[in-house]
Amino acid sequence: MLVETGHFALALALALSLVQAVMPVWAARAGEPALRQVAVQAALGSFACVLFAFAALTYAHATSDFSVQNVVDNSHTAKPFIYKISGVWGNHEGSLLLWVLILTLFGACVAVAKSAVPPVLRANTLGVQGFITFVFVLFMIATSNPFSRVMPAPIEGRDLNPLLQDAGLAIHPPLLYVGYVGFSITFAFAVAALIDGRIDAVWARAVRPWTLIAWSFLTLGIAMGSYWAYYELGWGGWWFWDPVENASLMPWIAGTALLHSTVVMEKRDALKVWTVLLAILTFSLSLLGTFIVRSGVLTSVHSFATDPTRGVFILAILILFIGGSLTLFAWRAPLLRQGGLFAPISREGSLVLNNLFLVAACATVFVGTLYPLLLEMLTGEKISVGPPFFNFTFVPLAVPLLLIVPFGQALAWKRGDALAASQRLFAAMAAALAVGLGAAALHWGGPVLAPVGVGLGAYLIVGSALEIISRARGYGASRARGASVIWRRALGLPRSAWGTAIAHAGVGVVVLGIAAQGWATEGLATLKSGGTLAAGPYVATLDRVAPRTGPNYEETVAYLTIRNKAGDEIGHVETSKRFYPSRQMAVTESGLLTVGASQVYASLGEIQPDGAGLRLYHKPYVLLIWLGAVVMALGGGLSLTDRRMRVGAPVRARAKGLPPAAVPAE
């Protein structure tokens, strides 16, 4: 019964989203401002409906209701409860419902946010958001209904893919989706601006918090996915340039560019048309990310045809949104007034360079991911584009980009002084050189690029710290002397300044972690009980191999003791081979031992009567890769709490009779 109600709620959401899509545009045409309010109500209503539908599906999964096809396909009574919940979005239909839930949540947020957004812009934005919701709910109801019943109901379900039965996978998709879907708001704002035919700094300010939220979550989502692949896939890599990974990286790169171009637009009234185009591209790439992955077209051209209705529908959606918005852009963009001149050596000049390199990197990933597909379709030739290609092309684009990060920060708006900026960054360059040379000396004869990367990471981190220090110190007559004065002033800097510095330092941390992988070591051997295997500074001893029974699997576990070279015990690690009888599938569970930011990584190979094949890695400072991403997201979050970003702050300040909050000068 609840399942049918959920199904009905979804249909209601379809109707409400259509109202939300049509009313604001009509209100603008008819000159009836009162009608605009309908869009707000409709946005709240469709969120409530989708929330109810999601709750109904969750209930069906939690109670293992095997009369629902979706539960039968993805659940099992013996499955641990947490995976019964995460199994709701661990499949095509359910993940779509989560996607739409987040979409309507964002719509509801825009509807109730008290902000200085002009009413027409807000109404049009809600309308665009409503249209997106409408199309996706329609897609779900027409081709991917999570509420389909099955008759007669089977006694047992088919269980969730064992690879997905993992805590990482429970939170990875929601994080990623908040990121993807968050960019729908910037997209909606962009299309609304195109419909309206005007755009200004207010638009940029209205869009920025949403971009920040989406970007921060996408950063976390990608990092989470990368960590999951690292420990679950069992061969110790952290990024594989897999099409699925690239699909999430592309909107992230475009979103990063968007984040920076909106700053230029807000401060200097420049790059308007470009920013609108970026907003459209970012969401288009998010759509591509979500649905091209879902359709399976990336793994094989032929799997696209396994479910023709779904495939054709996805193609239609992509053409509608990407083609439609780009057409609208080509038609309406000339109406948007171009403004703002800029000198090449200035903060905005460096941000333009940032956009150039980011977009080039994004284009490279895009072409690299889709090229084999197109080539096969056009000529029938089959080629592979793998990690060697991406490393070769992506790194040369990323390095200059990272080099200009502290420079841009050190340059003033309008007209910067390159020489003064270099002088300010002297300490960062010195630190980079010292750290890089130190690392090279420590690992003489090792890989060449690793110390360079370490130096680059140090340069970014010190550069970010210098930015805060020099801003706190001030210039000219007000130049502070004592450290305590600088510290006090630093605490008084706007949160967005801190957020920027922290996010950039986070990039430096990621670079450090990546560079350190050049010194990763690996050992491989077949061990008997009591045998040892070394990797880097650690030695693993195989204590025993024994079977064990889990809640819904059987496993063979290798118990290892890790010691350092001196023979002191550091800890214990278990790695196992699991067999899930419900899916007849075997997976390898790797064992991890964290020592500081480094990890010892053990992966079980072939099991033999008197021992086991074992792979042992030492991954120095590998955790920095993901911690750095978390730091980046924290920086984004901190920027979000900045006074001028807080949605509705000026309104409240005025209501209390206080003077409007002063905008901190950059």
């Binding site: 150039l356 490279t364 592979s384 060697p388 290609f389 092309t393 077949t526």
Partner: protein
Amino acid sequence: MRAAALLVLALLAAGPARAVQPDEVLPDPTLEHRAREISAGLRCLVCQNQSIDDSDAPLAKDLRLIVRERLKAGDTNQAVEDYVVRRYGEFVLLRPVFGLHTLLLWATPLLAILLGGFGIWRLARRKAPPPERRLTTAEEDEVAALLRRD
């Protein structure tokens, strides 16, 4: 025909195995290092986007053994790659060759930078923007109301 041959190969080499096995490792460390380097650039033909170095498929194991055999026979890295490409086609290379059919692929980063750079150059050369758009009457009233209130 080739698919059939692959299938036969896969069936013959059935049995559990994952990534490089201890028994595959060459006694000569330099040779083994070269083998690993080559393996990381060869695609496992039956997997989704995995190199034969990472893959646990039986076919990947065969390829790893072929690579090691060729190396033992004294082939250069390039010769080993050519040998594998002759047998399995270009699809096996994770780093696509540079040729007419991959020209656009390899040129993309450079093209993007050049095109973008050209756009920026034009933007930087632009003259001062035309005057500000006039406010509508309704907006003028709104401004007047705001000014009165202060």
